[in-house]
Symmetry: C2
Subunit: 459 residues, 2 copies
Amino acid sequence: MLSEAVRQYLRSHRGQHLEALCELLRIPSIANATDDDACERAAQWLSNRLDGLGLSARVAPAPGRPNVLASAHVDDRKPTVLIYGHYDVQPPDPLDEWATGPFEPTVRDGLLYARGASDDKGQIFAHLMAVEAWQRAGGGLPVNVKMLIEGEEEIGSPHIEAFLGSCAEELSADVVVVSDSEFFAQGLPSITYALRGLVYFEVTVCGPREDLHSGVHGGAVANPLNALAAMVAGMHDETGRVTIDGFYDDVRDLTAAEREAFDALPFDADQYAASLGVAALGGGEADCEVLERRWARPTLDCHGIVGGYAGPGAKTVLPARASAKLSCRLVADQDPAKIVAGVKRFVAEHTPRGVTASVAVSATARPVRLATERPAMAAARDALHEAFARPTAMIACGASIPITELFQRVLGRDAILMGFGLPDDNLHAPNEKFALDQLYRGSEAAAAFLGNLAAIGHR
Amino acid sequence: MLSEAVRQYLRSHRGQHLEALCELLRIPSIANATDDDACERAAQWLSNRLDGLGLSARVAPAPGRPNVLASAHVDDRKPTVLIYGHYDVQPPDPLDEWATGPFEPTVRDGLLYARGASDDKGQIFAHLMAVEAWQRAGGGLPVNVKMLIEGEEEIGSPHIEAFLGSCAEELSADVVVVSDSEFFAQGLPSITYALRGLVYFEVTVCGPREDLHSGVHGGAVANPLNALAAMVAGMHDETGRVTIDGFYDDVRDLTAAEREAFDALPFDADQYAASLGVAALGGGEADCEVLERRWARPTLDCHGIVGGYAGPGAKTVLPARASAKLSCRLVADQDPAKIVAGVKRFVAEHTPRGVTASVAVSATARPVRLATERPAMAAARDALHEAFARPTAMIACGASIPITELFQRVLGRDAILMGFGLPDDNLHAPNEKFALDQLYRGSEAAAAFLGNLAAIGHR
């Protein structure tokens, strides 16, 4: 239950909070941009803000982008909660499809448009709002709070495992909350208990030493783009199944209970298709239901192909090389290492005469399942129920949140995925947005969660 | 036979001629660049130069890039020769693979490096040198000379047909020479009698309205890049044959005489592969010889794929659309319109559920065969023989020179393809170059050709 004072504080400070979040959204903190400064500035902004809320905060340097750490210890007898989010954002391309600039946050019809609005600056900011409300209007934090705000989530968190290991003591907590997920639907508060894993890789095919004239040499020399297209195409069969050897070996089929729970969700495939602007749903395994394909089946998607000529007009080039960015989404109990080995074998076996091919893996994440029957999970479900006035659904998510698996493995904790995004937030796409109602109610849920945790007592 | 005075003039003016050619090469006259000015400047430079040689020259405006026209009438009883070349060049990308700037002509080891050095500024300039030598040292031109220097050859000459039609009278000639081809090998002067045609097209596949997160939606929504890769891959079978319906219907098989002539050429497949930096030759139909595949068999090559994320690092995007630039090289008697229809049918039949696809054709050119037994052809063969001190070979070429087909159709003339390039000139690729020896001897061949033509008399 949320105290009336905390709730009132949140409701009367919406204007100030929105303004502050917009400041953060204006910082183009893309982890893989060549400009280091934006990530530094975003981290420093968060650290200053947390300091101002009475937490002890710092920007912790890392081999890559820095992390933000903060903590407030109030009582040894109270549990400690670690709240995780990330301040880095996806690159904004294609820029010309944004109605307003990705780093010029703009409110239209109750929706806040900006890169990172939902993923993940807006979500982590809801927790900052909750902390602020308890500090200013609730008589201080009801539990011990720690925060970890990462700067490399969108590039696969290459340094976070080492960082967690080195700060395991500083980050130890009874409860871990990850706020980087979404509701199943508007008005249906949701907690995610399963996430897909990821293997992101690039296949490069090399042919002639230099780009060649396709008229003079075409037909005599293997074309790396033709070869790459054949390789990418060959990774699926005609039923939509991935043909990588052993790909499905460790896939756990849905239980009857899970299938029932999926079926009970308010999901309409036609409506879903219409919301994405497609006439029909394709992709994935033809014989699986849509939610199963998104949540409980592995995939292989191509994200970009580079090579030859991509400019305007025509160029008759036979390219010297071509490469494809690809990723597999994995489900329990697939092992990224085994999938990588399968991909490498596939590429080696499908390299045609006249070219060479190689595979470079840039990110991997294990699929995750989280325990659902725990007091802290109940505290989160109840908090969401209270703030959004509807019982909380337990759902899965097709995306990867690699930190969740690391919290299991390095800190020994199954996280609670309490996020406030909505399915149409345009994550990773132009015109990303975050509903202000999700921000405001989300902050109330986050505040209620801290209160509910206090009632549980120490772990 | 070349008069000693003309020969001596050419030999004593090499420095000045090289300097002038470099001026022209410094102008980045890329037809499809957004900057109009460079093409205008190149055309004006040529017009001024031709004026200075005593021809009546002008820059003829066109709907696209302007053409340069020039003429000198010396004697009604002499034949008229029309010399064709083009001043526009291919885009220079990838820029970082050039040892020196594409528009900073540089001589290294007797080779002139620059975009357009061989294709086609250097070749057309050899004819200007020949004209100059006759005017200054040979007592004036021995035949009536006309020149047409085009500005849109590298983008498929979209306006030249209309232009030829409108200037048919002004361009009428007894003999047409196209100087935009190459020797079979260094030291082996060659005239090309067959050219492949071209159909250049772009296939665009559209899926969701906006780019999507491949984790959240992957497996439920058809991925336009996956679909496009499958489409491109499906255009070949495992033996390297193109699967477009009816693709081979009108392909004329090599005659025994042609096969014998091909076999007699000094061609070593292993050496050819090594020269391109490939361990083995792939591509094309597995059961055809290499020269046959390059000259007498049709192809389908992918030149570039656009869509999703092509920047550094990883982005987990399920793209809204993807497109592939492709072209088919055609041989006699394939009809571009029939091939386009086949491609459109193929794409329609191979569009998977969940996406739409379309085909946009940007250029077509019919394949060409030219009569070889003519007095003017003999004049060209003899001129090359004299300048390069070796009998001239009659060869084919895998590239398209669409103007040749237009000269047949609009002006009623089979052109003579007398070009001075070499096979390793890196056409359309980084580090394009032109051997100075080809420039200098080429100008002597061009001059001898004019003299030989005068001896034939009027058509």
